[in-house]
Each structure stands twice: as structure tokens, then as C-alpha cells.
């Protein structure tokens, strides 16, 4: 069998008509052998699954570690597939930080050596549920985000005790900024009376719980799922009965459904950012977790009722 196959292959390779194909083969081989390897950085890395997690890491490490974000800026983490470079980064990282609660679809397939250096930040947090599913957007509760920051701090200190003082200072600064942020939001929230906010997908449950407003949503937990008839009917009913003037959709997801419902009810459409990822341009403009969170809060405050 094998001999036959080899003979056939030889015949195949020597046949004149197949010069073209041999050419392709050679080209592919050339591809195989060339190409530059990703440069071996000497700086130790921390890999974070997506934006808010990476932001925590960079706030606390300062310049000591390079922080890599697996989900590229501006992509939606729910729909993310790993590339070889991503897996290579996971492999080489000193520490892997994840949110957990199903935000990382690839979580279960990590190799044992990767799992060993992984910290799942949502572990042990008090989570909320929506329609019987655990809501993974824990980073939108400023108190929980602070707890996640503490885990990151402890994790980084445990792998690099030498610079513990730097991390302690950075962590203290982070806590102070979070207290400022919470103060800002609480002040705005103090004027909320029976506040209802209509959103495209139920990403803002934690924010709603912390600052005392109600979240009316079209889709529960997947941003781009097809909404059911009843969900649309319910939200239109609620919008008109409660006098809601703005329907929010989230950046990175489709605004189609929000627009349709806005048109049906005469409400405006505006965007909220659930902070799952920031665009490259936003980051370059100096936007970060704190500033976007404030902006969200301002927008919610402006919407009626």
C-alpha cells in the first residue's frame, strides 16, 4: 500500500502537467519556513483577558510588567476566538488574569500549566443573576471592581515580591481613585427617584444595583441575540408607561433593535459603554475605566425619568 502510494506520489511529482502544483507546494513550503518570529521580549508579561481586567493590571503594576490584552481593543469579548499569538502569550505569561463567569469561552481548555498561573477575579464575589443566569459584568460594580483590584494586587505581589512597595503604592492610589469615582456617582445617584433605564442588553445590572436604578432590557445576557416578541412588547409598554425618553444600546454591539424600539416609542437613542473593551482611539484620547464610567453615569442622569 505504502509503496504504491509513494510510487504514485513520484509519478505525480514528475508529471509535467503538475508543474503548477509543485509550484504552489514550493510556495507554501517557503511560507512555512520564512516569516519572522514574534520578537522575544525580555520584559515579563501579565496577560489579561479583556479591557477592565487589563486596566486593573496596568494600574497596579505601573511599568514593572508588560500587560497584554487578549481581546483586542474594540472587539466584543463574547465573540472572541484565540489566535496562535494569543495562546503563545498565555503560554509565556507570568500571570493570567480572567474575569470568569463565562466571559472567557476558552477558559476550560487552558492547559494545566496555564491554569496554575491563572487568577479568576470574579471568584468569591457576590454575583447577581438575570433570568436564572449569573450576570458576568461584575466590573461595573465599583465595590466589586475594587475587590478584584485587591486580588490583582495580591497576585502580582506573590510573583514579584521585590517591587512590593511600588505595587502597594499603586494599589493605594487605585483605591483612592475608586473612592473618588464612587463619590462622584453617588452624588449623581442621590437625585434618582424611581429611575428606569432602557438598555439593549442587560449589562448594567451591577451598576443599577449599586446606584439604585432599574434596568429595563431587551436582551438578557447575549448582546446580539434575537429578542423575543414578548421582550420587545414588554419594553415598549414600559417605556411608554414610565415616560422613558432614551433607549441605550451598548458600544460594540448592534444598535438595530434599540433604534427600532426608539422609533416605535418616540424615544432617543444613545450609547452606554459596558467597558468590555475600549477602542484604540478612545485609549489614545486618554479615556479609561474611570472616565468612561463617569460618562455612563452622566448619560444615565440625563435620561428621563
Amino acid at each position: 500500500m505504502l509503496v504504491y502510494f509513494i510510487r504514485k506520489c513520484k509519478a505525480f511529482a514528475t508529471r509535467k502537467v503538475n508543474a503548477n502544483m509543485r509550484h504552489t507546494l514550493a510556495l507554501l513550503l517557503a511560507f512555512l519556513l520564512c516569516g519572522c518570529a514574534p520578537s522575544g521580549d525580555s520584559k515579563k508579561t501579565i496577560v489579561a483577558s479583556f479591557y477592565p481586567i487589563a486596566f486593573l493590571a496596568s494600574e497596579i503594576t505601573g511599568n514593572e510588567f508588560e500587560v497584554k490584552t487578549l481581546v483586542p481593543a474594540g472587539s466584543e469579548p463574547h465573540e472572541f476566538e484565540l489566535t496562535p499569538r494569543g495562546v503563545a502569550a498565555l503560554n509565556d505569561a507570568s500571570l493570567i488574569l480572567m474575569n470568569g463567569l463565562g466571559m472567557e469561552g476558552w477558559e476550560s481548555s487552558l492547559s494545566p500549566s496555564m491554569k496554575e498561573k491563572t487568577i479568576t477575579l470574579s471568584q468569591g464575589l457576590e454575583t447577581l443573576s438575570i433570568d436564572g443566569r449569573v450576570d458576568p459584568h461584575v466590573w461595573l460594580d465599583t465595590r466589586l471592581y475594587e475587590q478584584m483590584g485587591k486580588k490583582v494586587y495580591e497576585g502580582i505581589v506573590s510573583i514579584d515580591k521585590e517591587h512590593a512597595q511600588i505595587y502597594a503604592d499603586n494599589y493605594a492610589l487605585f483605591c483612592k481613585k475608586m473612592v473618588d469615582l464612587r463619590g462622584y456617582c453617588n452624588e449623581i445617584a442621590s437625585s434618582f427617584k424611581q429611575k428606569s433605564v432602557a438598555v439593549n442588553h442587560a449589562a448594567f445590572g451591577y451598576m443599577a444595583a449599586e446606584f439604585g436604578f432599574e434596568q429595563l432590557y431587551i436582551n438578557s445576557l447575549s448582546p446580539n441575540e434575537e429578542p423575543t416578541q414578548k421582550a420587545i412588547e414588554d419594553i415598549i409598554e414600559a417605556i411608554s408607561s414610565q415616560g422613558i425618553d432614551t433607549v441605550f444600546f451598548e458600544e460594540l454591539a448592534s444598535d438595530e433593535v434599540a433604534k427600532k424600539i426608539a422609533a416605535e416609542t418616540g424615544a432617543k437613542v444613545d450609547s452606554l459603554n459596558p467597558l468590555e473593551g475600549l477602542e484604540e482611539s478612545e485609549i489614545n484620547r486618554g479615556e479609561n475605566y474611570y472616565s468612561v464610567y463617569r460618562e455612563n453615569m452622566d448619560k444615565i442622569a440625563r435620561a428621563k425619568p
Binding site: 519556513l33 516569516g35 489566535t83 496562535p84 476558552w106 443566569r133
Partner: protein, 287 residues
Amino acid sequence: MLKSWKGGITMFRYEFMVIAFVVALLLGLTFPLLGGTVVYKKLSSSGDALAHSALAGVAIGLVSGLQALYMSIVCCVISFLLIGLLRRKFGKHAEIGVVVVLSAAIAVTGILSGYASSGNFESYLFGSILLISYDELYVVIALAAISIFFFFFTYHRQMACLYSEEEAKIARVPVRLLDFLHSLLFALTVAIGAKIVGSLVVSSMLVLPTAAALLLKKGYRMTCIISVIVSLISMSSGIVLSYYLDWKPGATSVGVAVVILLFFLLYRGVSRALLRHKRLNAPVSDQ
């Protein structure tokens, strides 16, 4: 040249890349061996239908609390047998059976997904070739071994069936049994393949290599051989290219297969044109 050699080697610095490469080669061998028959039977889209059935299986598994992967395998087998049954019912329009099963699977998945307790249940099914555990590697090795054994053991009988089922029956080829075994193996490949490398890769790579090989019109045996070679090149170069270009490996493999297919198409067009040109210009005595 030496430097570029090094560049080629660095990707194998990582164990996960080595495993991905091995799995790509094994599946690259398995897919066309099982997918060929399906293409010849004009059921090319059944891979796609089965991948959706597998997803329906996962939904059923999550709602009923049974093991998701086993349910997806069971669903795949049932679906493929159903496709076979419908194919006989619809006669000439065999592909209708595929569409019926595909639609049913999508409907079941869509309805049940509302009841599943876990949000992104796709992650139960759609894997990535880059994150393969040792257990999954063994499964792939076993699957490849069984498929290769099945292919060579039934090679002539399958060819007879494809030529004419009636004549094969007269020649005492167990047509139904062969069909059933192939269905079983095919469904298993789709369910396991989707779990390990993703459904896009499975449904495309079952068909594209054979489709490309068919373009060259070299007869059954050569078509099989060429399809295996095309499949191996696509799968392995998909892994390599995706590493250097930072693309998604599954999509890259499929992309390479499509490019090869287009290349064959072009090649056929050019060689035909050349042949015609030659015939026109050849002296009469040569004809």
C-alpha cells in the same frame, strides 16, 4: 536562509503549536477520506447540517442535564441517518433532505437556547485547535486510525456503491451496512471535530479538498489521493500562516483550501485553453 529557518522553527517552541500541527495533519487525513463519499453522493452540505445538529445536541444536553458532547454525537448520528432516509424519499433532489435536517437543527437550537441555563453555550461545542488537551489528542488519533482503517478496508466496496448501488447489491456488497457504518463514522467526525477544531473547519474541510480534487478529473483513486494532499496542505499551512499573521487558525485553513480550489480552477481553464490552442496549431499528421 538560516535565519528564515530559525523563524520557521520558533513556532514549534510551543508545545501547543506542536499538538495543533499534529492534530491538523491527523484531521487533514481523516476529513477527505470520509468527506469524499459525501461529496459524490451530492450531500456536500450535510457536514454543515450535522454541525448544527451537534449544536442542537449541546442545547438538548444543557436543558436535560445530560453530557453535552455525548448528546451532540447522538444528534449527529440521528441527523445523518435521517438525511440518508430523506435522500431516498426525495430521489433526485437529494439535497432537500440536508436542508430539512439543517433547518430542524437550527430551530431546535434556537428554541432550546432560551431554556439553557448557561449564556454562551457555543463554547461547549466550538473548540479551537490551539487549546487541545491530551485527552482530545488521543480521541483524534483514535478517530483518524479508525477512519483510515475503514477507508482502506472498504475501498473497493465503497467505489462499487458509488458507481452504482444496484450493481453493488447484485455483487453482494452490503450496501446498507456500509452506508450505516459510514454515516456513523461521519457523524462522529463532525461532532468530535466541531468540539475540537470548530464547526467551520469541519464542515468546510470535509468538502473542499474533494471538490478541488474533482476539478482535475483524474479518476476515483487519484481524486482520493489529491484530496488528501490538498487537505493536509490546507490544514497544516493554516496553522503555520495563522501563527505568523496572527489570524484565526480554523478560518485560515479553510481560506487556504479555497485558494487551492480556485487555483485548480484556473489551472484547468488555462490547460484547456492551451490544449485547444495546440490542437488548432498542430500539423494534421500529428492528430
